[in-house]
């Protein structure tokens, strides 16, 4: 069980690349698992579908979740995560461009750990990713096994 895996749920390849680049730039060495849509992400977490047989106890230390996803939306993914006892405690940070109050409120209602709007400026985005890695992987005490 690798405590330090990061699950990145993001449909846009460019955004994935930029995020990974920012992690690298922040010297975050953790493995980043990328899921391009909500369904695959849930399959990965619950060991179903394409990830049938995966050890579901191998939970990521942090889930970075985009809300605007093709198919199952980010909010649904969050709801499903919080509905299952084994994934209930996984730290989830919503990282999205949406700043609609319904989205923000809905995410907090579902027990999101943090809600971050992607900054437009590249430097600011790098800073955010850097802080995320530092806080959730170093500063924060993860949930017990």
């Amino acid at each position: 069980m690798d405590q330090h895996k990061i699950l990145l749920v993001e449909d846009n390849a460019d955004d994935v690349e930029l995020t990974l680049h920012a992690f690298r730039a922040s010297r975050v060495a953790n493995e980043v698992v990328v899921m391009r849509d909500g369904e695959t992400a849930l399959d990965y977490l619950f060991g179903t579908g394409a990830y049938a047989g995966r050890d579901v106890r191998d939970l990521p230390a942090l889930v970075l979740l985009d809300l605007k996803l093709p198919g199952i939306g980010g909010i649904e993914v969050l709801r499903a995560l919080r509905a299952r006892p084994e994934t209930r405690r996984v730290p989830v940070v919503v990282l999205t461009t949406s700043d609609e109050t319904t989205d923000v409120g809905g995410c907090y209602d579902l027990g999101v750990n943090s809600y971050i709007r992607k900054p437009v400026a590249f430097d600011a985005f790098n800073d955010v990713v850097n802080q995320l890695g530092l806080y959730w992987l170093v500063t924060n005490t993860p949930p017990p096994q």
């Binding site: 460019d14 930029l18 700043d99 992607k118 437009v120 985005f125």
Partner: protein
């Protein structure tokens, strides 16, 4: 005609008869007139007749007196000569027995007073008598004539008068009776021929009412071969009644038409009022809808602009990575391209910002100024060429198109329209864009044509709807907000836009500014 009296059925019009004078029939007056005139004529004629009778009677008496002179004068003269008074008396009495003789006297003349012989018979009268004095002349044998006396004869006129009186009475009585009878007869005839019909006609006229059919006037008398004045009058009345009825019907018809017209007009007015109210209601509704749509558009614009930033952020991000980590591996040409990319993304960021501003400043004040569209189009084209220097597009912009407007907004209009033309001629060989003016019904129309991809006219309306696109992003990129923005900007400049095109044969966008305003400037 100041006023048209409407004959309402309930408003029966009553004609007040003129104040009645005491009635006196024509018959009575006719009778009086006939009696009066007849009496006058009778009196005159009777007087004439009596006068003639009187003269005749007088003539008879005169002749009788002449007879007396002729028959008795010489014998009386002889008797006087002989002074035979008895003989004279007898002779005088004989004369007196003649009709109308009143008094006779023989008086001897030539003797002293009181000694002459005087023989008189009858009663001397002073009035109503004819007096004659005949000289009694005795002719002697030797032929000498000697006046010896006077025969005085008085003939009375009382007989004449009595006869005259009797005749007068008779004539008057006869004439009176005759006149009365004739008058009565005439009265009867007049009544039978005229008066009773007049009464009938008067009754008919009283009963006559043009609103209801009244039986025609008929005179209560037997059919005649020749018509008289009354028949003609009845005919004339009937003709008049018919005409009156016709006129009344016509008038009633006209009144009905008029009432119908008035009702129709009132209905039309009510309809107009209703339509106005409806129109106002619709205007309010549309205004509310429009406001809602504007708000929605603002929201959409904001949201979409926001989403547009995501790819822009990627461009910037990769550009920064490239410019930072790979700068030493790029040659000058590479760095130039990188610079162009970042310039383009900056421009786009600016445009997105301007969209955001536009959506937020729908109600902001326009800054109206003189704007040279030709020059503005030139700079827009220059920007387009700069973005895609490899494109070979022939652009023709008519010079001197100067208008009144908001420079920033009109720039956005041309940026959109020329940008579209530029964009949709991408796959066209010999791409050409033309921007010039036309004059349509006295109004300057600005036209931007291209020979690019064009569009299906069936979807022309959807062109101008926000976020509505006729092309897939794979074919031609775009947000679908450009033409919607153009419509809004042109609307704020009192103008309109319409598009014309065909698939594969290019598109033409024609727009106007300050439509209906004479000086092509803001009112």
């Amino acid at each position: 005609m100041d006023q048209v009296e409407l004959a309402a059925p309930e408003g029966v019009r009553t004609v007040e008869p003129p104040a009645r004078r005491p009635h006196r029939g024509i018959g009575v007056r006719l009778l009086a007139a006939i009696v009066l005139f007849s009496s006058a004529v009778t009196l005159v004629l009777t007087a004439l007749e009596l006068y003639v009778d009187y003269r005749t009677d007088l003539g008879v008496i005169q002749r009788r007196l002449d007879d007396v002179e002729a028959s008795y004068l010489s014998s009386l003269t002889g008797s006087l000569w002989t002074l035979d008074t008895d003989q004279i008396r007898r002779q005088l009495e004989g004369i007196l027995r003649l009709p109308d003789m009143q008094h006779l006297e023989v008086r001897e003349v030539g003797r002293p007073e009181g000694r002459g012989v005087i023989v008189s018979v009858g009663i001397h009268a002073t009035e109503s008598v004819i007096v004659r004095d005949y000289p009694m002349v005795f002719t002697e044998l030797d032929g000498r004539a000697q006046s010896i006396g006077v025969l005085h004869v008085e003939a009375t006129l009382s007989g004449v008068y009595a006869r005259l009186f009797d005749r007068t009475m008779l004539i008057l009585a006869g004439q009176g009776v005759k006149t009365f009878l004739v008058a009565l007869f005439i009265l009867f005839i007049v009544h039978r021929l005229v008066t009773r019909h007049l009464v009938g006609i008067a009754g008919f006229l009283h009963r006559f009412d043009p609103r209801s059919a009244v039986a025609p006037l008929t005179l209560a008398r037997a059919e005649r071969r020749h018509e008289d004045e009354l028949d003609r009058m009845a005919e004339a009345f009937n003709a008049m009644a018919t005409r009156l009825e016709e006129l009344y019907r016509e008038l009633a018809g006209l009144n009905a038409e008029l009432e119908w017209d008035i009702a129709a007009r009132q209905q039309a007015e009510a309809e107009v009022t209703r339509l106005n109210a409806e129109l106002e209601q619709r205007v309010r509704q549309r205004t509310a809808e429009l406001e809602a749509a504007n708000k929605e558009l603002d929201a959409f614009t904001y949201s979409v602009s926001h989403d547009l930033r995501a790819p822009l952020r990627r461009i910037e991000g990769f550009g920064r990575i490239l410019g930072g980590e790979y700068a030493d591996r790029l040659d000058d040409r590479g760095r130039h391209f990188l610079e162009r990319i970042r310039a383009g993304s900056n421009e786009m960021a600016e445009m997105i910002d301007s969209f955001l501003k536009l959506s937020r400043s729908t109600r902001s004040e326009l800054t109206i100024d003189s704007v040279d569209l030709s020059a503005l189009a030139g700079s827009v084209i220059a920007r387009l060429r700069e973005r895609e220097p490899d494109r070979a597009v022939s652009v023709a912009v008519a010079p001197g198109m100067v208008v009144q407007g908001d420079r920033r907004l009109l720039d956005a209009v041309l940026e959109n329209l020329l940008g579209n033309a530029w964009k949709y001629t991408r796959n066209t060989e010999g791409a050409a864009i033309r921007f010039d003016t036309e004059v349509s019904s006295g109004c300057t129309v600005y036209a931007i044509r291209d020979n690019g991809a064009g569009f299906d006219m069936a979807y022309a309306d959807r062109l101008f709807l926000p976020f509505s696109r006729l092309h897939r992003p794979e074919e031609f990129e775009g947000t679908g907000i450009g033409l919607a923005t153009v419509v809004r900007i042109l609307a704020r400049h009192g103008g309109r836009i319409r598009a014309e095109g065909a698939v594969g044969r290019g598109a033409t966008f024609r727009f106007t500014l300050w439509e209906g305003s004479a000086n092509h400037g803001p009112a």
